[in-house]
């Protein structure tokens, strides 16, 4: 893929990849990094794209791989920080711990924060289907799994989401649309 195609592909698909990253990460900063890195991969390895799939499904695959790697790294860091945090005296804990994930209020109050609690396969399937509007066949292509598995993950993912909301109570079903942003815990 030459330079012109990279530019065209970036202009055409960056917004949708950024949106998927935002839904996955829960904050715009990590989403920016993730989306930028996805297109850096395109610039570096775009020549290896063989055209067997659509460009955007290939990009979603890259994005999900990067997200998986980032979650693994963050998980390790948070576990280490949690150990330090738990050792501090309880009286001095006036602010959230350093291991607290950075998430903007809009995301925390959306259903996507609950989707983040689901298993990876269900979470990715729901993002690709309901945030990105991909067809089942395209999701199967991105996730490299059978079509029936995709539908099953979506169905069971939504059912699990329903149970999470039920456990949170009726109040959680009526989520505020977009309250004022609260990122004080992230500063």
């Amino acid at each position: 893929m030459n330079r012109l195609n990279v530019d065209e592909t970036t202009r055409e698909h960056f917004a949708r990849i950024h949106r998927a990253a935002l839904v996955l990460c829960g904050n715009p900063w990590d989403a920016d990094d993730l989306a930028q890195e996805t297109f850096m991969v395109l610039a570096r390895q775009g020549s290896h794209f063989e055209g067997r799939s659509s460009v955007y499904t290939w990009l979603y695959g890259v994005l999900l791989n990067l997200d998986r790697r980032q979650r693994r790294q963050l998980g390790m860091k948070r576990r280490k920080l949690r150990v330090l945090w738990d050792r501090e005296p309880a009286g001095e804990k006036s602010v959230p711990g350093a291991d607290a994930p950075v998430e903007v209020a809009e995301w925390k109050n959306s259903l996507w924060a609950r989707v983040a609690l689901l298993p990876e396969g269900q979470r990715q399937s729901l993002v690709l289907r309901f945030s990105e509007g991909l067809r089942y066949e395209e999701i199967a292509e991105v996730l490299e799994c059978p079509l029936g598995t995709v539908k099953s993950r979506i169905f069971h993912g939504l059912a699990a989401l329903r149970r999470i909301l039920d456990s949170e109570g009726e109040e959680a079903r009526q989520l505020p649309a977009f309250p004022s942003e609260d990122i004080s815990h992230a500063i």
């Binding site: 809009e106 959306s110 309901f130 979506i154």
Partner: protein, 155 residues
């Protein structure tokens, strides 16, 4: 036998056929997921892709790099030329441009200078010119055995 669990959902095959029919409550959740994603994207729009930002600059950067390379090469070549010219034309003040004539060093080399009027009669022996090395050695041995009072051999 190694532990190699494979999680197989039995109902995956049931989903393979036909379209996915969602109950109303799940369909409502799906709709709300789409709305939430749209709101998030509207609240936090995508920034300018860095790939594009980089691609806008390569011509000018490449031009700058080439210009600096040429300038550096020209500067280095100029410095080398000047240094060579300076080393060739260097003349210490007050000295002759030609190389100084170095006097022959005084040595203790023993030089045999034949006297103008040799007291010893010299017999030209032109035939020695055709003698080989071993023959010459043999002649010198014979000469020593002859023990003349005054002898000399010149080549």
């Amino acid at each position: 036998m190694p532990f190699d669990p494979k999680l197989i959902r039995e109902d995956d095959a049931n989903f393979e056929r036909g379209d996915l029919q969602l109950p109303d409550d799940l369909a409502h959740l799906a709709e709300q997921l789409g709305d939430d994603a749209a709101r998030l994207a509207a609240t936090y729009p995508a920034p300018t892709p860095k790939v594009l930002a980089v691609s806008l600059q390569p011509t000018s950067r490449r031009h700058t790099w080439l210009t600096r390379s040429f300038a550096g090469t020209a500067l280095a070549a100029g410095l080398v030329t000047i240094s060579i010219w300076a080393s060739n034309s260097y003349q210490p003040f007050g000295e002759h441009p030609h190389p100084a004539i170095v006097p022959a060093p005084t040595t203790n080399t023993f030089v045999v200078t034949p006297s103008a009027e040799p007291s010893i009669p010299v017999t030209p022996a032109s035939f020695l010119g055709d003698t080989s090395g071993p023959e010459l050695e043999a002649l010198m041995d014979l000469w020593e055995q002859d023990q003349p009072a005054v002898r000399s051999l010149s080549f």
